[in-house]
């Protein structure tokens, strides 16, 4: 299934995540596969509730208690889902890091920024003075002005954008090779969003970092990602090179998503909001989960779950009629 196993730093293969629900377990991630080659950015998009966060948490091993997983998360050739807890813990922060949607909640309110950013260094045995210097350097590289002073401040003294910068510094402290960025700009002002995205992109390019950029916002992903994975109701609807997927979608859901955003396609001036409500893992429609909202839906869609298949060079779609969508 993975297209280029040699180059892929991370290979997610048939990932399944079950969360304990009311009566039975909820399959919130259902057979998700994609690769993240070293030094590249992959965008993970989909409406809220489509399983993006759970996918990222499964990769870093921080799923909520009681969650069960299936499939594989192959990291540098090693399946992390079957690795021991100590190995998983060592990967976190040092090889794979994560930043979150709400940087205020993600930072400890009772600790100074500098201490939080430098904690991983101190735990690794870096002496206090050296760790302090590295923290200042990390904050500076993350674009926090006056880092010596600000390292001594608390999260509530930072603005939203500065908090996310501090969070980025924290995530980079352990020199990871992969950064999972879960809606890193969703909670921020529009002007700040663009700056944080630019920062992530420049860090990613400079350090040769790989990044999984999770967002419900197509525009965010379009700016930064090389490849995109489009999720719907816990499954992959489509994946491929970002430009191609957004310009010529191979899945009706992607097409609807693109049309719902005015700025992505300059040709359409008006946005066409998606009709209907997104399917949830709790009541996922039979057959193709998108069929109640799909303009192309027909009998087969209601009966048969579409398997993901290659519909063009490096283009993958989970639609029975992808060829009709592709122009």
């Amino acid at each position: 299934m993975p297209e280029n196993p040699a180059g892929a730093l991370l290979q997610v293969a048939d990932l399944v995540v079950d969360l304990p629900g009311g009566k039975s377990d909820l399959r919130v991630v259902d057979g998700v596969s994609f690769d993240v080659p070293a030094g590249t950015t992959v965008g993970l998009i989909g409406e809220s509730g489509s399983g993006k966060t759970m996918t990222a948490l499964a990769i870093i091993g921080l799923l909520p208690g009681g969650a069960a997983t299936g499939g594989q998360v192959v990291w540098r050739g090693e399946d992390l889902l079957h690795a021991g807890p100590t190995r998983r813990r060592r990967v976190r922060g040092h090889e794979i890091s994560m930043i979150f949607q709400d940087p205020l909640a993600a930072l400890n309110p009772t600790q100074r920024i500098g201490r939080q950013v430098g904690e991983i260094l101190r735990r690794d045995g870096v002496p206090r003075g050296e760790a302090g210097r590295r923290v200042v350097e990390l904050l500076d590289r993350a674009g926090v002005p006056d880092p010596v002073r600000r390292a001594r401040e608390y999260p509530h003294q930072f603005s939203g954008g500065m908090r996310q910068r501090a969070m980025i510094a924290l995530a980079l402290a352990g020199r990871p090779s992969l950064l999972l960025a879960d809606e890193p700009t969703t909670a921020l002002d529009v002007t700040v969003q663009a700056r944080i995205l630019r920062l992530l992109r420049s860090i990613q390019e400079r350090d040769g970092l790989a990044m999984l950029l999770v967002s419900h916002d197509l525009r965010v992903v379009a700016h930064v990602a090389g490849q995109v994975v489009v999720m719907y109701a816990g499954r992959v609807a489509e994946r491929g090179p970002a430009r191609q997927v957004l310009d010529r979608p191979a899945h009706p859901y992607t097409r609807a998503l693109v049309r719902s955003v005015p700025a992505v396609r300059t040709r359409t001036a008006l946005a066409h909001p998606l009709p209907g409500a997104p399917a949830t893992p709790a009541n996922r429609p039979a057959g193709c989960p998108f069929h109640p909202r799909c303009p192309l839906a027909r009998e087969r869609c209601r009966l048969e779950v579409p398997a993901i298949r290659e519909v063009g060079p490096d283009r993958w779609s989970a639609c029975h009629f992808a060829e009709e969508v592709l122009p």
């Binding site: 922060g93 930072l107 009772t110």
Partner: protein, 309 residues
């Protein structure tokens, strides 16, 4: 910060006034009066009336009240007619013993309660958690004096390990301090448990885990301090209740503190001593609450900033 302290002291003055007024009314509303207790059942009406008059108790209540408040403001807490000495002097003499007991019980409760709560909350529904939950529910429902008597029966009379009453050696302190601390330990353990469980669900704990910390490092480095915030508040608030509990425990164990003095004074309608002791306890509780508040602001930097410095 200073503004906060000033505000709290001002509120404290009102609390003290309230406490003084309440106890003033209560001691006088209770049946019996000092003179008839002092003179015994054989005294004539005239004798009782004369003594009450010489104690100033024949004046209208309002006049007595205003006079009393005036005295208190001048730090004159009246004479104990029974002990024939200034009431506050007698009370102060007993304060160290009560404080010693209260502080020992608090230290025990905080150390044991925090530890149990941390271990239980670190692994909710684990074995430790279940045992701690069951024990703390039980502890909170037993009356203090009953627990005290049970401990005496077991450790003093049964096993003969510890003295059952009195003072002198540190061993004398063990049973009263443990008795006094048990319900408080239960409160601290339960509160710590629930705030640790809550803190462990916070997003910043996920961040801490994403740094590759062990669960113990996450618990002690991130969840503990944030769970301490509500615990410190409760400890401060419960100190008052604890001093109240000390009154009972002191009587069970013949501990020569404020408790036994107050019980004696109430039995003998020694108004001045009851009033002085009440005011002193209210004052001590107020200071302890203030200390808890200051500690609380130390723990939570968000509050530290708001009050100005």
């Amino acid at each position: 910060m200073t503004r906060m302290i000033m505000r709290r002291l001002l509120i404290g003055v009102f609390v003290m006034w309230g406490a003084a007024s309440l106890i003033f009314v209560i001691v006088r509303a209770a049946p019996g009066d000092p003179a008839s207790v002092l003179l015994g059942p054989d005294a004539s009406r005239e004798q009782v009336a004369r003594l009450n008059a010489s104690l100033g108790l024949d004046r209208p209540l309002l006049v007595q009240y205003v006079g009393y408040l005036g005295d208190v403001v001048r730090l004159d807490f009246g004479e104990s007619h029974r002990l024939a000495r200034p009431a506050m002097g007698a009370v102060f003499e007993r304060l160290p013993a009560t404080l010693e007991l209260t502080l020992a019980a608090t230290a025990l409760a905080v150390i044991v309660g925090l530890t149990l709560g941390l271990v239980a909350g670190g692994r909710p529904d684990g074995i430790v958690d279940r045992v701690v939950s069951a024990t703390t529910v039980a502890l909170q429902s037993f009356p203090t004096f009953w627990v005290g008597i049970m401990l005496i029966l077991l450790f003093a009379l049964g096993l003969r390990l510890l003295p059952s009453a009195g003072v002198g050696t540190p061993a004398h302190m063990v049973l009263p301090a443990v008795t006094l601390s048990l319900p408080f330990t239960a409160i601290v353990a339960r509160l710590t448990r629930s705030s640790v469980v809550e803190a462990m669900r916070e997003p910043y704990v996920t961040t801490a885990r994403s740094k590759g910390l062990t669960e113990t490092q996450v618990l002690l480095g991130h969840a503990l301090r944030n769970s301490l915030i509500p615990v410190v508040t409760i400890v401060g608030l419960q100190m008052g209740a604890l001093m109240g509990g000390a009154v009972i425990v002191e009587n069970v164990f013949a501990w020569p503190g404020l408790g036994s003095l107050i019980v004696d004074a109430v039995a003998n309608r020694d108004y001045a001593v009851v009033q002085a002791a009440t005011l002193l306890i209210a004052g001590v509780v107020m200071v302890l609450n203030l200390v808890a508040d200051l500690l609380y602001t130390r723990l939570d930097p968000r509050i530290r900033m708001d009050g100005g410095s």
